[in-house]
């Protein structure tokens, strides 16, 4: 096996958290290498550059890796999961594919045990993270509007995305109902920003932004980190983290683009592969010293998986709206976010308001629920659907349950022969009640907006690609995998910085908070460099 020169810090994964940590640690002038199993993306090849842009979202740009099936993807057995696993493997990771919706966790999300008597409190709080939220907002480039009574104060550096026709319908409807709404914070640039061109409304932003207006870490953090001396190696798939006789991580074994097995020694290993990739790697790093997987003395590596159940309710208005001619999401509502004792569930959800969808997606989805017929009536019915969709998503808080977990599949392997992840995930009773409450409220909104033909999709294909909680942080080594600043309780030079350290899920898109936590952990590491392994 070939061996490389020792590096000070090895980061595994170049997505939301790996990029932020790399950039933050670069100022230490340590030798930092990041290994990414995917490739650099080429915006000129993103789907919106071609007429087949919608079809490619069901092919090489599908959010589900099992269908996408790129060489750089790994398979996931999610046959025993109520939700499918969505992700992306490439420089930028999931930020290449996210909707760029940018809520933060609220302060109460970090204190669910104290406030609501469920799950566990986090060992950190919102206010500890606040300056990292702000730093990250500047780095990613956030568009938004100050003054939202639904969330703590924040200072988006750019104005919000326009309301547009669809947003105006929602705004008037929410005012009629007397319910909270606010234009969404988004990492889609509304002005030219730090070398990025402003949004020109290419349409739905999920499969990569050809304009470069959407902030993915390949165009935000990475150029700066690389300029500061960090080395990013693509097509390097890490198989396992190796430990030495002192109980410390000594480096990783990985496969390069040619399938060659290599050893990369490192003084510090940072894992940033998110809620499925990280436990998969730790479980695949089992050895005689760590027979149940690395950093797993608690037995919690892979457990407490949270996926954010996300029902969608849609209906059709009489008038045409923005359809696919604008970023997908326009506004949020925190009306039902905080716990209300009068409800039959604790915690809550964010409502997200979508602008519409493309002509292909409309046809496929409507036909799949029987709303669009085959035969002679097809065209007439379709013309009452296209560019008339109103859709409300319900981003449910997901509480941890140990039975929801990532394990290693006994049969399925990736193209390098590395055992794949198997997902077991069910919906909790509290979550089910929350979902039904949200579906009923979303239906009220659509009916108040005059929408007809209302359909609900609960979970199966609504997977937002949020994989959280499988290496939770905490102060007690018996009930957590990493400490309050991301260091493994068991292996003192092993850090985890991604969504797997989350203790609870909150009810919103997680990337802003994932990155704030990553920047916080990097800051803690910098402050403790002299005593990092004590």
């Amino acid at each position: 096996m070939a061996a490389n020169e020792m590096v000070d810090v090895l980061i595994i994964g170049s997505g939301a958290s790996g990029a932020a940590v790399a950039w933050s640690l670069a100022e230490t002038k340590m030798r930092i290498v990041c290994m990414e199993q995917g490739d650099w993306m080429k915006p000129s090849e993103y789907p919106s550059t071609g007429r087949d842009w919608e079809a490619r979202r069901m092919a090489d740009f599908d959010i589900f890796p099992n269908r996408r099936g790129r060489e750089t993807d790994y398979p996931i057995n999610d046959s025993e999961s109520a939700m499918k696993i969505a992700n992306f493997n490439g420089v930028g990771g999931g930020t290449v594919f996210y909707t760029a919706h940018w809520p933060r966790m609220n302060p109460s999300d970090f204190r669910v045990k104290s406030l609501d008597g469920v799950a566990e409190d986090w060992p950190i709080d919102y206010w500890t993270l606040e300056k990292f939220f702000e730093e990250n907002d500047r780095m990613m480039g956030v568009s938004g509007l100050e003054g939202d009574p639904g969330v703590p104060p924040r200072h988006p550096p750019m104005p919000p995305l326009p309301l547009g026709k669809t947003g105006t319908v929602y705004a008037k409807t929410m005012n009629k109902l007397g319910w909270h709404w606010w234009p969404s914070d988004s990492t889609i640039a509304t002005q030219d920003y730090e070398g990025r061109a402003k949004c020109i409304n290419l349409g739905h932003c999920t499969p990569g932004c050809a304009q470069g207006a959407k902030a993915s870490t390949d165009i935000t953090y990475w150029p700066l980190a690389i300029r500061a001396g960090v080395e990013l190696r693509t097509r390097c798939r890490v198989r396992e983290i190796v430990t030495n006789e002192h109980g410390m991580a000594s480096g990783v074994i990985y496969y390069d683009a040619n399938g060659q097995e290599n050893f990369q020694p490192a003084e510090v290993v940072i894992v940033a592969c998110n809620g499925v990739g990280t436990p998969r790697l730790l479980l695949n790093s089992a050895s005689s010293r760590h027979p149940n997987g690395l950093a797993n003395s608690s037995g919690l590596v892979g457990r407490n998986l949270m996926l954010h159940p996300w029902p969608q309710v849609r209906g059709y208005a009489d008038e045409r709206n923005d359809g696919a001619h604008a970023p997908m999401l326009s506004m949020w509502s925190k009306q039902f976010y905080e716990t209300d004792p009068s409800r039959d569930f604790v915690r809550g959800y964010t409502m997200q308001f979508a602008r519409g969808t493309g002509v292909v997606n409309e046809a496929i989805q409507s036909m799949s629920v029987g709303a669009l017929p085959w035969g002679a009536d097809h065209h007439k019915v379709y013309r009452d659907l296209v560019y008339r969709r109103l859709q409300v998503g319900i981003a449910c808080d997901d509480l941890p349950e140990e039975c929801n977990r990532v394990t290693l599949d006994p049969v399925l392997k990736d193209s390098n022969g590395i055992p794949a992840a198997k997902i077991d995930y069910r919906l909790g009773e509290n979550t089910k009640r929350m979902m039904e409450h949200g579906i009923a409220r979303a239906t009220e909104i659509l009916e108040a907006a005059g929408a007809k033909n209302i359909y609900t999709s609960r979970t199966l294909l609504n997977s937002p690609g949020h994989t959280l909680g499988t290496c939770r942080m905490g102060n007690d080594p018996e009930t957590s995998v990493v400490n309050a600043w991301g260091r493994s309780h068991d292996v003192k030079n092993l850090f985890i910085v991604d969504g797997s350290v989350w203790v609870t899920g909150g009810g919103m898109n997680p990337t802003s908070t994932i990155q704030a936590i990553a920047l916080y952990i990097a800051d803690q590491m910098k402050q403790r460099l002299a005593t990092l392994f004590d």
Binding site: S108, C199, W374, G375, H379
Partner: protein, 142 residues
């Protein structure tokens, strides 16, 4: 037939299904999904759905030889069963039909990719936020 293509009879059956699913319309001045140009696109774009399309065509074998009423009845039976094979057939037909220039223009849209021209999004009336601005703080501090 290769790993990437259908047999001639499977192709005929898929063409028939496409035409039954989305027929031509005089009223809306659009071709059907069995239009030669559209169907050629469907055929070459099956990609990841090839295995399911083959299974679907096995279930529908010979439909291209049936008269209209019998073919539609058989198609309805297939469709009403639902499942991944129906989803694959619908996906393969619709993803190509609704990117044909004639069809897209008939919907009042421009037949072009989103990039580089993009679209115009109206700003909207931000005074709609006035009642929301007056609300008290809603989030719990902790």
């Amino acid at each position: 037939m290769t790993a990437e293509t259908l047999s001639p009879s499977q192709t005929d059956d898929l063409r028939r299904i496409a035409g039954l699913m989305v027929p031509a319309s005089e009223e809306f001045k659009v071709p059907g999904a069995d239009d030669p140009k559209i169907f050629a696109d469907i055929e070459k774009s099956i990609g990841r759905d090839m295995a399911d399309i083959r299974k679907a065509m096995a279930a529908l074998a010979g439909i291209s030889k049936l008269d209209d009423a019998a073919a539609m009845a058989r198609a309805e039976t297939f469709r009403s069963a639902g499942g991944p094979l129906v989803a694959a057939v619908e996906r393969c037909v619709l993803q190509c039909y609704y990117r044909d220039d004639r069809v897209v223009i008939s919907l009042g849209l421009e037949a072009r990719p989103p990039f580089p021209k993009g679209h115009v999004l109206e700003q909207g009336d931000w005074s709609l936020l006035d009642p929301v601005r007056k609300r008290a703080k809603m989030w719990r501090d902790a």
